[in-house]
């Protein structure tokens, strides 16, 4: 469970996040939506412990977790992580086991088992020996998610996990996350751009704009024409939970 109270982030004189209060219970999938520059990535960085902030973030009731303990509780997938060219898929996913290894130790049988299992779930077995720079966008994204899952942390933070994927691959990745969430009882927090998919997958959505939470609840309460028009400065209509852009007549 994650609890944020009055979380604010300022860089220089610019306020990036202000007064964010949110409670994410165990097993929930929270989708964070909002226009470009709203503070979605910053919020995920705060939760990952990678962003200085004021206010309080508690993970399972603990605040101020050390790096090592946090690595056992939270896995974090950046929006555009460094992908070392030439590294092999199996080696990359195995890096996710780092929190479970001793400081200068090497991988044990259990680490191999976990990674083999993750590769199987993500349909990556055949790619284990491939170089990262030879993968397609969809394969690459699955490998990145694989690294986060190999960490075996109960909370997984994903910053736009479906960016740069085509619609089929977006669905594939989101279905997979949903399945893993139920089989492994993961708590997921993902920022998302596509409002239709945001309405379909997460249990709860949180709309932020200019660093403030403006709506938080089930999709039908958040994806309303008023909120979307007001905060995305877009022309849309919403029908059956589907946000549809409309052209000015």
């Amino acid at each position: 469970m994650i609890t944020c109270s009055d979380v604010s982030v300022s860089i220089g004189n610019t306020s990036i996040l202000s007064g964010v209060d949110v409670m994410i219970p165990e097993g929930q999938w929270l989708g964070v939506i909002g226009p470009n520059g709203a503070g979605k990535s910053t919020l995920l960085r705060v939760l990952a412990g990678r962003q200085a902030h004021s206010g309080n973030v508690r993970i399972n009731g603990n605040s101020g977790l050390g790096r090592k303990r946090r690595s056992h509780l939270i896995a974090y997938l950046e929006q555009s992580p460094l992908v070392p060219a030439g590294m092999f898929v199996a080696d990359y996913v195995m890096l996710g086991r780092t929190p479970h290894l001793s400081r200068f130790g090497s991988e044990r049988d259990v680490d191999h088992e976990v990674v083999i299992d993750v590769l199987g779930r993500l349909d990556l077995r055949d790619l284990a020996g491939r170089r990262l720079d030879t993968l397609s966008g969809g394969e690459r994204q699955r490998v990145l998610i694989g690294r986060a899952l190999a960490q075996e942390a109960p909370i997984v933070l994903l910053d736009e996990p479906t960016t740069s994927l085509d619609l089929g691959h977006q669905q594939e990745v989101l279905e997979l996350l949903d399945e893993l969430r139920s089989t492994k009882n993961l708590t997921l927090v993902s920022s998302m751009h596509d409002l239709t998919l945001a309405g379909q997958y997460p249990d709860v959505l949180m709309l932020i704009d200019r660093g403030r939470v403006v709506a938080h609840g089930p999709a039908e309460e958040v994806l309303t024409p008023e909120l979307i028009v007001g905060h995305y400065r877009a022309r849309v209509e919403v029908r059956d939970g589907v946000v549809r852009p409309v052209r000015p007549s």
Binding site: I74, P81, L82, L95
Partner: protein, 346 residues
């Protein structure tokens, strides 16, 4: 039932054996070639005689040449080449920059300036014991300055800015060094013959002087080789995997700079070893530092032993500075890397 294992990038026994074989052959060739005619068999026999005490029938004169003159020089070349190469590999990992090496980052120039100051200040000339600590201070200061400039420009994100900063720092430090030498004409000859790079030895003294540094730096950098693989995915991800990225980076830079300083203070500025060798190995073995670092030590040692053999023998009895030999090989290699990777470098 045994657990299935994944095919991970690891140092395969065959690669290790290959590396040791290359190094062994280089050592024997390096010790056999010289003005006096020594067969490779006599080199091996002498080593057996000295280490195991068994008489293998090598004449005292030949055994003396091999053990007192040739082998110390070969051993020093091996250690210096191994250290520069491991340091280069470590810098490349820490800065996520395939073109980083002790020379291009300014570390070697800083070490050279530190050692020069130490030599000039020591009244009786010679190579004072604190040349290495002084070189270490110089190397760290140079790397610190280069990375500070690089990060002020763009957070060291681009390959080019860090190297340009390193080149600027190196030029500046070399200018200071030249200035100091011009003011102290009495030591110019001595410092210049050293600064151009040479692995000349007087018996085993220099080897013993550099061995502790080699053991500590190379040994500890080997320990950090998995950490280098984790750093490759970025500081943010490394931190969320429980690794203290800043501290790890700092420890590795300090160790690599100490290795550079120890190498420079016994044998001057020898460029390109730290660039060429780890890079060749990366091309062959892939990007995992668990493989690169151990093989870089073996390959760097072999490369410098052979380069020194060429330096001694090509225009015998005159010697060419070994730095010239490594640059003859390394500079074209560097140009080839630029041509090959120029478009993909950020």
């Amino acid at each position: 039932m045994t657990t299935p294992r994944l095919p991970l990038a690891r140092l395969k026994p065959s690669w290790l054996a290959g590396g040791l074989l290359v190094l062994g052959v280089s050592v024997i060739v390096g010790a056999a070639i010289g003005p006096a005619d020594v067969s490779m068999g006599s080199v091996v026999a002498t080593v057996f005689e000295r280490l195991l005490g068994a008489d293998r029938g090598v004449s005292d004169r030949l055994a003396g040449i091999v053990w007192e003159i040739r082998l110390p020089r070969v051993a020093l070349g091996l250690l210096v080449g191994g250290m520069l190469s491991v340091a280069g590999g470590a810098y490349q990992g820490v800065f996520r920059n395939p073109l980083a090496d002790p020379y291009l980052l300014g570390a070697a120039a800083g070490a050279g300036l530190g050692a020069t100051v130490a030599i000039v200040l020591s009244a009786n000339g010679g190579n004072p014991a604190w040349a290495t600590p002084a070189a270490f201070v110089g190397a760290l200061a140079a790397v610190g300055l280069a990375t500070a400039i690089g990060s002020a420009i763009d957070g060291n994100r681009s390959t080019a800015t860090l190297l340009l900063a390193g080149v600027a720092v190196a030029s500046f430090l070399t200018a200071i060094q030249t200035f100091i030498l011009q003011r102290r004409v009495d030591t110019v000859q001595q410092v210049y013959s050293w600064i151009l790079g040479r692995v000349a030895t007087t018996g085993w003294d220099e080897v013993w002087q550099v061995t502790p540094y080699a053991v500590v730096c190379v040994g500890m950098l080997f320990w950090y080789r998995r950490a280098l693989d984790v750093l490759a995915v970025g500081d943010d991800v490394a931190e969320t995997l429980g690794v203290n990225a800043r501290r790890t980076r700092l420890v590795i830079v300090v160790l690599a700079s100490l290795a550079t300083a120890a190498a420079v203070s016994v044998s001057g500025l020898i460029g390109f070893v730290g660039l060429v060798v780890p890079h060749m190995i990366r091309l062959l073995s892939g990007p995992s530092y668990r493989v690169i670092l151990p093989l870089a030590f073996l390959g760097g040692g072999a490369f410098l032993v052979l380069a020194d053999t060429v330096a001694r023998q090509a225009f015998a009895p005159a010697e060419i500075p070994i730095g010239v030999v490594t640059a003859f090989v390394g500079a074209p290699f560097f140009m080839w890397m630029l041509l090959r990777g120029g478009r993909s470098l950020p």
